[in-house]
């Protein structure tokens, strides 16, 4: 297997810097998760690690293996695309779930739910849904 000792200096220095930057950003985000006050403040903190932190580590890995194997190694882009696509989805779902739980418990710190939209005016001859339900009632 290849070894890190074969790496030239011009590649070792950016790899080390990117690794340290990514790990430092991940630690900052996790410290924010530990220290911030409410859940809605805490949900912002780990996104430091999930965006910039992991892209720095992935860039370091791509640079390291590309120089070491003297060919383009790009499979780390899979993790980058996966993270960029999934992090907003999961955090949005989680924040919605937390908001729903707080509202259903009557917590005062969350805003009330928005007022319901005005219902559309009835179509002439009744909407198709009422016709279908009328047919079902006739059949039974």
């Amino acid at each position: 297997m290849t070894n890190a000792a074969d790496l030239p200096a011009w590649a070792a220095l950016p790899t080390a810097l990117l690794l340290l930057l990514g790990a430092g950003l991940a630690l900052t985000g996790s410290l924010g998760l530990l220290r911030l006050g409410s859940f809605y403040e805490r949900i912002h903190a780990p996104t430091l690690g999930t965006t910039m932190g992991i892209s720095c580590v992935l860039l370091a890995s791509m640079l390291f293996f590309s120089v070491l194997q003297t060919r383009l190694v790009l499979h780390e882009l899979l993790i980058a695309v996966l993270m960029a696509a999934t992090t907003p989805v999961t955090l949005m779902l989680l924040a919605r779930a937390a908001l729903y739980r707080d509202r259903s418990e009557g917590c005062d710190e969350v805003p009330p739910p928005p007022p319901p939209l005005p219902s559309p005016p009835d179509l002439p001859g009744g909407s198709p849904q009422t016709q279908v339900s009328a047919k079902v009632i006739e059949r039974t």
Partner: protein
């Protein structure tokens, strides 16, 4: 000289990532509510992915990359399922 620099910075990055995982594990164990625990689990998954990539750079082996990819994928599924459970009380309705 550059090799020593790289190995020391890999070690330092591993220590930082382990501290980050410890913070997330504390939030996972002591979170005041269920959504805090799910958020801690998500952060733990992301930090574990980064730690595995750092192990891959240290050993020069691409095997760790596949483990990191699987952890990232399973972390997404787990967090989405847990958020759905918190919202509706069931995962599959």
């Amino acid at each position: 000289m550059s090799t020593e620099l790289l190995s020391w910075s890999i070690l330092l990055a591993q220590i930082l990532l382990t501290l980050a995982m410890a913070c997330a594990a504390y939030r996972l164990l002591r979170g005041p509510r269920a959504q805090d625990r799910v958020l801690g689990l998500d952060t733990l998954y992301v930090n574990a992915t980064m730690l595995l990539l750092t192990f891959g750079i240290r050993t020069g082996s691409t095997l760790y990359f596949e483990a990191a990819l699987i952890i990232a994928l399973l972390g997404f599924v787990a967090t989405a399922a847990l958020a759905k459970f918190l919202m509706r009380g069931e995962v599959i309705e």
